[in-house]
């Protein structure tokens, strides 16, 4: 761990928050619609009747389309990374991610069945995806409980994932051409549906759960030593496991329902945070949240800018950039 940053917690937190804020402003000021930077203060400060038609248009683009999207990207990135960090602590394995216990595949199955059986309007799709993720996780948890330790949960998760995958295959087979295309796009993920209403609906809830999860940092630190050791240190492991799984499912379920599958953030970002700051969950969890927010805001920016006036699917960008970046991190650490 040669490259770990040796700076105090408060400074690191301030730094990351600062970077995130600057990034939010920067990415919100760029997009397919060209808005001159010099015009932005006027747009935000002047009264609506004083603006010209053009300025009115810019203001609507900025405030109604870009801002909710950029904020939603930050929220989604933070939540995905935090959930990833939590799962990695819970499974005591750096390869763990929320998908491991069926959360993502349950959501996908819910979405797929909504698209094929229910017409696939967002009003059906989102609740179905949410329900799917919660059901799959609950099933994995209950089946896995019969086995001692995390191995049971892991095995049950693998089985649930396999079953969800095969049912998805069945629905894909039954789907017609239009439904197939909807499926493909859902699986690639998108932040294009971000609106203020959705942000208001999901934001407070997800932030609350996130803070709740961060409060378990002591228990996660104890888990680093081993399950038995954590138990001897006075943590009720069984209850803790259930609580954390429920919290992660409550984080990821609604998010996946709203955005579709956005891969790689939950796996890679906690890793980067750990390489930078070490494994102390007191700082790792907030750091993962902030880094995840930064990563997804950047990825969404690239998705919006790369092929103007069209747009890349966000899931493609996160995997396309996250994968090589992660490899580079791994390789550069060794030398």
């Amino acid at each position: 761990m040669c490259c770990r940053l040796l700076i105090p917690n408060w400074l690191a937190g301030l730094l990351a928050t600062g970077v995130l804020l600057i990034l939010l402003v920067f990415t919100a000021s760029h997009g397919a619609v060209q808005i001159p930077l010099s015009a932005i203060p006027d747009l935000l400060l002047m009264n609506a009747p004083l603006l010209s038609d053009e300025q009115q248009f810019w203001r609507d683009v900025l405030l109604e389309i870009r801002l909710p999207r950029v904020l939603f990207a930050a929220l989604a990135g933070g939540v995905l990374a935090l959930a990833g960090a939590t799962m990695q602590a819970l499974f005591r394995n750096p390869l763990a991610e929320p998908g491991l216990i069926g959360i993502s595949s349950g959501a996908s199955l819910g979405a797929v069945s909504a698209i094929v059986l229910g017409g696939g309007s967002f009003a059906i799709l989102a609740p179905a995806a949410f329900l799917g993720s919660i059901l799959a996780t609950a099933l994995a948890y209950h089946l896995g409980r019969r086995y001692a330790g995390m191995a049971g949960l892991l095995l049950a998760g693998i089985a649930i994932n396999a079953i969800c995958g095969s049912l998805m295959g069945l629905f894909t087979y039954l789907a017609d051409d239009n439904q197939l295309r909807s499926l493909t796009f859902w699986n690639m993920g998108s932040l294009a549906g971000a609106t203020w209403q959705r942000l208001a609906l999901l934001g407070p809830f997800l932030l609350l759960i996130s803070i709740w999860i961060m409060r378990y940092w002591r228990a996660m630190n104890a888990l680093l030593l081993g399950e038995r050791e954590a138990l001897h240190l006075g943590f009720a492991i069984k209850g803790l496991r259930r609580k954390l799984i429920v919290l992660v499912a409550l984080l990821i379920g609604p998010l996946v329902a709203a955005t579709g599958g956005i891969g790689f953030v939950g796996l890679v970002v906690p890793h980067c945070a750990r390489m930078l700051l070490g494994a102390d969950h007191r700082r790792l969890l907030p750091a993962s949240f902030l880094l995840g927010a930064i990563a997804l805001v950047l990825a969404d920016y690239i998705a919006r800018i790369a092929v103007v006036p069209a747009e890349l699917p966000i899931g493609v960008v996160t995997s396309l950039i996250g994968g090589p970046f992660f490899l580079w991190l791994l390789l550069s650490r060794k030398s």
Binding site: A32, D177, F185, G193, V308, P309, E311
Partner: protein
């Protein structure tokens, strides 16, 4: 030399811009989200209104020169806004729905038209596009012309071959393994209009075909598209394919190959497509 060249280019560009701004001064700026709608706009000779299209708009070739705002199912909201459109023409599969709602909120007229592959939906599409472009008469005339042409083509089949209808199998392939077209596909609709009996009428949509399943179908005619034929390795490979080789169609070499968009697009070229299909199936 180079200076002259660039000077002329600049001059030309200048004239083109001036001319087009003059021509467009009062005309609506239209974005089309869906290849079939783009094709109708060109068929109405109203392409000067088009300022951007989606990625499925590949016919006619001129549509490829326009800015593309993404695939119609997941078009870029800001891309459409950047084109300063007044009107967005979209098929009913365009989305995401929130993005369409936001376009409406920003004061852009969003017109959603049915995307199904049948004559009445085609008429609705044409009428909808024509109305949006202030060309209702031209639209009405095109609808009339198409239904007349299609009707003129039909009696020839329904009377002469009503008892001995040819059976047809439509093959589609994107990755080499062919899929057969069942009910509720534009291929099935074309077969019905052409008076051919679809051997896969029991099946919904496109499904992969096993070799044995294919052999059991015994179609008189095989219909396929140019892109399918190339992904299957050409005509010889198709005819030699186990399961297909034994069919009456392969034995008599009755394989109809048509351009993908012409055969399946259900656009203004429908009569032409039908004519080609029927004369080849005769």
């Amino acid at each position: 030399m180079r200076i002259y060249y660039s000077l002329t280019t600049i001059l030309l560009l200048f004239f083109i811009t001036v001319f087009s701004t003059l021509a467009l001064a009062s005309a609506p700026r239209v974005v089309s989200l869906g290849g079939p709608l783009t094709e109708i706009i060109y068929a109405l000779n109203a392409e000067q209104h088009l300022v951007a299209v989606d990625q499925s708009s590949v016919y006619p070739a001129a549509a490829n020169q326009l800015p593309k705002v993404g695939y119609y199912r997941q078009f870029s909201l800001e891309g459409v806004l950047a084109s300063k459109a007044d009107i967005v023409l979209a098929t009913d599969q365009a989305g995401p729905p929130q993005a369409l709602a936001q376009l409406r909120k920003m004061g852009i007229k969003v017109i959603v038209l049915p995307g199904q592959a049948n004559l009445s939906a085609l008429s609705q599409r044409i009428r909808g596009v024509a109305a949006a472009l202030n060309l209702p008469q031209q639209g009405e005339q095109m609808v009339k012309q198409i239904s007349q042409d299609v009707k003129a083509l039909q009696p020839a089949t329904s009377t002469s071959t009503s008892t001995s209808t040819s059976t047809a199998l439509m093959l589609m392939s994107r990755s080499g393994e062919p899929e057969g077209a069942g009910k509720n596909t534009s291929a099935d609709a074309m077969m019905q209009l052409a008076g051919l009996r679809n051997v896969l009428a029991q099946q919904q949509g496109y499904k992969p075909l096993s070799r044995e399943g294919m052999a059991a179908l015994r179609p008189d005619v095989i219909i396929t598209t140019t892109s399918t034929l190339s992904s299957m390795g050409g005509m010889a490979a198709l005819l030699a394919r186990p399961g297909l080789a034994q069919s009456p169609a392969a034995k008599n070499k009755r394989v109809i190959v048509m351009d993908d968009l012409l055969l399946l697009g259900f656009g203004p070229r429908l009569p032409e497509a039908l004519r080609q299909l029927m004369s080849a199936a005769k």
